[in-house]
């Protein structure tokens, strides 16, 4: 089979899984839906491996294959087919997405077991994987937008999976609408590119753009900025990031899969995929690099003060994606995508660990209530700590190599980029600190009552309630199920976490400066046309970078150790001393309030104005009032012969019309 045939299979399995589970939910008893869904994704991953092997068998310059199923929308000069592109970049994404997705499916088999919407959950999850794979395999902009929007829809459905929770549905509509704003950006960008090049497929657009645009041509910069609107909406970058923390309303496996490991990296993929455009419009790439840097530092500072465990990890995700955006925007594609991969491993792992802890807490997510889980949950503790070490960039772990490679490339660009790189290092210090703030507050310190209960062999069960608002709930469909699960007692959960823990440790080995360059070499054919393909920091610069990065990571961990282990209470004192700073951070830099004032309120006000003022006065009152007033005067005469019957009235009208028509005709003939 050729690589493209495998690629079709990659798409076919999750789609089939979606449909089978969605249509068969009545007969899929027990955990069958979960196993079926997991198996579909495993097959998809296997097909991805098949595509990889086929691709590797080809000479490097031929590793870009397209295939088309049928004409999707071609009319009046526009031509979009249902076509895919298989090249190293798409295969890399397929493997990361399907691989991590499989493990998260496996985790969910147990985690979500008692939920009333079990089959629905896996149907959505399979649909998400299908959408994401469609996004990365799409061969033209129209199909890219389709995958892009499907991913947003799946995300919406899973955020509001517990659909009777008002907080979850509110988070869902917020995420969906911001994602649609991103879609609109993509549509506009696609138009500008289509107008200039007459093409919609990647190859046609890229070659056409080179002919049509000079460097930093206004239209091209506009198109690239619009692409960034799409990328930022999906990847939660400033100012379109506010939906991501709210998205934590969804079940924890969803946070792990969609809102950490895969979907939110779509923006990074998009920039990498359209790199020929950004290299032609370096001004737009610089905008992306700056916004990525702003996001990574902003999100890291917020993660310092948030007390909801899942939201800390969510802000961490935003921050880490900022690094990736920075990487691909300074044209260090290999480094950006490398970090995308390692982040997928350790962030999925962190969320899984968080899910296990939240299970032990009976659904409670606040760090303030947690503590001392180290003994009661040794496996969760060990894996979570490995994930946190990787996130902190501790030497030799995966995040250490990948993050530092991005920063080394950035500084190597010189000029203003050095500032971006330095900011990146500062944020790395904050990252290491907040990562271990979580570890110390969850697993060390005074044991929470729930930890003691777990150690005794029980598990805490609170009355079902919304952890954010305290509203009373039941555990029927639309709310979380009655049971809670921890990794220590659920084999599928542990089986999913162990490989991720291993990968978080060793995945860095594919790109050790001067030793291995497996990943970058594999991706090379995709980026062969890049002007920056041969630009590398010198080996010594990379090693200096690694040394600095490693030292910063360890320093951050050390500070966290001092503040939370050695001198607990200092952080509270600090908070009181720096009250304004703390509340600025706790209110998330006021972005929610800003967007609310700029868009939500005006739109709602416009609607209210229309309903109360325009509709009643202008439309219903003046126009109709005037017209029907005139008619009323006329009909007061007619009423005598109208005899009250609607039918006669209608007949009269009709005869009147016909008479008038005849009059016109005869008069003119």
């Amino acid at each position: 089979m050729s690589a493209t045939t495998y690629a079709w299979l990659v798409l076919a399995f999750p789609l089939a899984g979606t449909l089978v589970i969605a249509l068969g939910w009545r007969v899929l008893f027990g955990r069958l839906a979960g196993w079926l869904g997991s198996f579909a994704i495993l097959l998809s991953f296997a097909a991805g491996v098949g595509a990889l092997l086929e691709l590797l068998a080809l000479p490097e310059e031929e590793r870009s294959l397209t295939a088309s199923a049928f004409d999707y929308a071609s009319t009046a000069g526009l031509d979009a087919d249902l076509g895919i592109l298989v090249d190293p970049l798409s295969v890399f994404m397929v493997l990361v997405v399907s691989g991590v997705s499989f493990l998260i499916h496996l985790y969910s088999v147990a985690y979500i077991a008692s939920d009333g919407g079990y089959a629905r959950f896996f149907s959505y999850l399979n649909f998400f994987v299908f959408s994401m794979l469609l996004l990365v395999l799409a061969g033209n902009f129209v199909l890219l937008i389709v995958g892009w929007a499907f991913v947003g829809a799946a995300s919406y459905l899973l955020i509001s999976f517990w659909y009777r929770r008002m907080t979850a549905t509110a988070a869902g509509i917020k995420a969906f609408v911001i994602n649609v704003v991103g879609d609109v950006g993509l549509v506009l960008a696609t138009f500008l590119l289509f107008q200039a090049t007459g093409a919609l497929d990647y190859a046609g657009v890229f070659t056409g753009a080179e002919e049509a645009f000079a460097e930093n041509d206004g239209t091209l910069v506009a198109a690239c900025l619009l692409l960034l609107v799409g990328a930022f909406a999906k990847s939660a970058q400033i100012p379109l990031h506010t939906w991501l923390p709210d998205a934590m309303e969804g079940p924890t496996p969803v946070s792990a899969l969609i809102h950490a490991a895969t979907m939110v990296t779509a923006g990074v993929y998009l920039i990498a995929r359209t790199h020929p455009l950004f290299e032609l419009a370096p001004a737009a790439a610089d905008v992306a690099a700056i916004i990525g840097t702003l996001t990574l530092v902003m999100a890291a500072t917020i993660a310092l003060v948030v007390t909801d465990l899942k939201r800390v990890i969510a802000y961490s995700t935003m921050s880490q994606i900022g690094y990736m955006v920075l990487g691909v925007s300074v044209f260090a594609y290999g480094a950006g995508l490398f970090h995308l991969m390692t982040h997928a491993f350790f962030k999925a792992l962190l969320f899984m660990g968080a899910g296990s802890v939240i299970g032990a807490m009976g659904g409670e997510q606040s760090l303030d209530r947690m503590g001392g889980f180290r003994k009661a949950m040794p496996f969760t503790f060990a894996t979570f700590t490995l994930g946190a070490l990787a996130l902190a960039g501790a030497p030799l772990l995966s995040g250490f190599f990948s993050k530092d490679e991005i920063l080394a490339f950035t500084i190597d660009r010189g000029g203003g980029y050095v500032i971006l790189g330095v900011v990146g290092y500062v944020a790395a210090l904050i990252t290491a600190f907040y990562a271990f703030r979580m570890v110390f507050r969850v697993f060390f310190g005074k044991a929470a009552p729930e930890a003691a209960e777990l150690a005794r062999g029980g598990i805490h069960h609170a009355d079902p309630q919304n952890p954010a608002t305290g509203e009373v709930e039941d555990s029927d469909v639309g709310f979380p199920g009655p049971e809670h699960h921890v990794a220590e007692r659920s084999a599928p959960m542990a089986a999913a976490m162990a490989p991720l823990a291993l990968l978080s440790v060793v995945a860095g080995l594919v790109a050790i400066p001067g030793v291995t360059d497996t990943l970058e070499h594999f991706l090379e054919p995709t980026f062969a046309d890049s002007r920056f393909i041969d630009v590398h920091p010198s080996e010594s610069a990379e090693y200096i970078g690694l040394a600095v990065g490693g030292a910063i990571g360890l320093l951050g961990i050390a500070i966290a150790y001092v503040l939370y282990m050695r001198r607990p209470g200092v952080t509270l004192a600090l908070r009181d001393r720096l009250r304004p700073v703390h509340s600025f951070l706790a209110r998330k830099w006021y972005f929610d309030e800003l967007l609310d004032a700029l868009f939500v309120r005006p739109a709602a006000g416009f609607g209210r104005f229309g309903r109360t003022v325009v509709e009643s006065a202008l439309v219903q009152g003046l126009l109709v009032g005037g017209a029907s007033g005139a008619v009323r005067a006329g009909t007061s005469f007619a009423r005598t012969i109208q005899s009250g019957y609607l039918r006669a009235y209608a007949l009269l009208l009709f005869v009147g019309v016909s008479g008038l028509a005849l009059y016109f005709l005869i008069a003119s003939a």
Binding site: W25, F70, D71, Y72, A73, S74, T75, A76, G77, L78, R120, V142, I145, V146, A149, F150, A153, L157, S160, Y163, R164, M166, T169, I173, F176, V177, V180, V181, D183, V184, V187, L188, F191, Q195, V477, G478, A603, F606, G607, R608, G610, E615, L618, Q620, V624, A627, S628, V631, L646, R647, A650, L653, F654, V657, L660, A661, F664, L665, S668, A669
Partner: protein
């Protein structure tokens, strides 16, 4: 070149209804199923014609053309091209499902009701097939009569007021159009020195001076914009939508609204190209305001019907935007979107009927909530329809909107950009509607239960059509392309400052 096929398609529903009306006694109870069979027959005919259509030709097919009132130059002239055919198809499809929905509940004076329903179908099909302007106007006005009764006699709340408004608005529009049509025929005949003729093909060839075109344009535009309805001519819509029974409402919103858009494409653009260009920006302003205003009102409503009603104002705004981009991409998008909008609106109103049966008869969003809980099938079908309505990429509605926006960007970038805000607003009103009905805390009077067999039989097939079209929108695009491009050809070349394309015989399908 004379076939009876189109006459059969048009008059089959009416014939079945007449037969049903005279059936005696007990057999008369089965009359409604006879009416349904009549609409099914027309639907089958339309499907067969789509399969048989010569997609490469912009010319008319299945032509019937005989002198009718020769003194006035009026001919009984029917014919379809790709554009008309899909309008015929959506009419017969929606009428079939609306009639089916009507068959499944009880009515006062059922014979009369089903007769009116069938009469209305015949009238609408006549509009879509007419190739003589006089015939077009006749059928167009004929649609008023049955809808007057359907809303007025079988309506619900406040029906008299609603009917009066509906009739005043549309009648004023129709009268203006009638005057416009008469003037068009007469003046064109004078101008060219030929015989009085209302044949669309003749009128296309007899180009009027620009000044004359302009005032005739205004007369036609008034009628068509009211029918859609477009802001600020939508005053009849809220009351009529509140009053109409669901099956009638489906037809009012899904099919009747298309008469206006179709009229622009069939009559106005080819025959009055200079005026279309002259008024382009004014109509685009109306379109864009309709999009924004309709969307904003849609997410401010509590009544489910009006959410859909105002969303239709916005969607028809998109269709108008596509047509008056005077660009073949935009026009193609408008045609596809006409089909799409008919399908989703039909399905949405059916769903509203289903929802109301679970909330103790209320259609207020405030009374709904949590209906998804015991109704996963309903939730899934509604979700698909909702995503299609908000034109999510992956649905045919998205392709329609994409083409419309591309057309608008190409000709008038600013209008296109402002209109694209409507895409995001659509997500707001549709998801809000879905959540308030299906999700959130359970409403006090809500009794959640899944679709019954009858409900499923009406809703599911429409949803399947929506899904099928989403997978393969090309089905519509490739069959309507030639006809649609021919409609905008003249106005487009005027807009681009190219030498005016002479109306070709093939483009308008002049028949012997």
């Amino acid at each position: 070149m004379l076939t009876i096929h189109l006459s059969i398609v048009i008059f089959l529903p009416l014939a079945a209804a007449l037969l049903a009306a005279v059936l005696p006694g007990r057999a008369g109870r089965a009359g409604r199923w006879l009416v349904l069979a009549g609409t099914a027959g027309s639907l089958a005919y339309a499907v067969a014609m789509i399969a048989d259509l010569d997609a490469s030709s912009a010319g008319l097919q299945y032509v019937t053309d005989i002198a009718w009132i020769s003194e006035l130059g009026i001919r009984y002239s029917l014919g379809v091209d790709g554009l008309s055919l899909f309008m015929v198809a959506l009419t017969t499809l929606l009428w079939f499902f609306a009639t089916l929905a009507a068959c499944l509940r009880e009515w006062e004076h059922p014979r009369l009701f089903f007769f009116q329903l069938a009469l209305a179908e015949t009238a609408v099909l006549g509009v879509f097939c007419a190739q003589d302007l006089a015939l077009f106007v006749l059928f167009f006005d004929l649609t008023l009569v049955p809808f007057y009764f359907l809303v007025g006699a079988w309506g619900e709340r406040d029906r008299v007021r609603a009917t009066t408004k509906l009739i005043i608005y549309t009648l004023v529009g129709s009268l203006l159009m009638l005057a416009g049509a008469v003037a068009l025929g007469v003046l064109a005949a004078q101008e060219s020195g030929g015989e009085l003729s209302f044949a669309l093909a003749d009128l296309t060839e007899r180009t009027l001076p620009e000044g004359t075109q302009q005032w005739i344009f205004v007369l036609f535009a008034a009628a068509f914009l009211v029918k859609m309805p477009a802001f600020p001519l939508h005053g009849w819509m809220p009351d009529a939508y509140r009053a109409a029974p669901i099956p009638v409402l489906i037809l009012l919103s899904a099919v009747l609204s298309k008469l206006g858009a179709y009229g622009f494409l069939r009559v106005v653009l080819p025959i009055l190209p200079d005026a279309s260009l002259h008024f382009q920006e004014i109509v685009l302003v109306i379109a864009v305001v309709s999009i924004l205003y309709g969307s904003a009102l849609a997410f401010s409503q509590d009544e489910a019907r009006l959410v859909v009603g105002y969303s239709s104002v916005a969607q028809l705004g998109f269709i108008t935007l596509g047509i008056f981009s005077l660009d073949d991409l935009g026009a193609q998008g408008a045609v596809l979107q006409m089909v799409n909008h008919a399908l989703v609106v039909g399905a949405l109103f059916l769903v509203i009927g289903v929802l109301a049966r679970r909330t103790g008869g209320s259609e207020s969003l405030a009374q709904m909530g949590g209906i998804a809980m015991r109704a996963p099938v309903l939730a899934a079908l509604f979700l698909v329809v909702g995503f299609a309505t908000l034109a999510m990429p992956g649905t045919a509605n998205f392709i329609g909107e994409l083409l419309i926006l591309f057309g608008a960007f190409e000709s008038k970038l600013v209008f296109g950009i402002v209109a694209s805000a409507g895409v995001a607003l659509a997500a707001v009103y549709m998801i809000r509607f879905y959540q308030r009905a299906m999700h959130n805390r359970i409403g006090e009077r809500v009794a959640s239960r899944d679709l019954g067999v009858r409900e499923l039989a009406v809703v599911a097939p429409l949803v399947l059509v929506i899904v099928a079209l989403s997978v393969y929108p090309q089905l519509v695009l490739e069959r309507t392309e030639a006809a649609t491009v021919a409609k905008v050809e003249r106005a487009q070349s005027l807009a681009r400052g190219e030498p005016p394309a002479a109306p070709t015989a093939a483009a308008e399908g002049a028949s012997p």
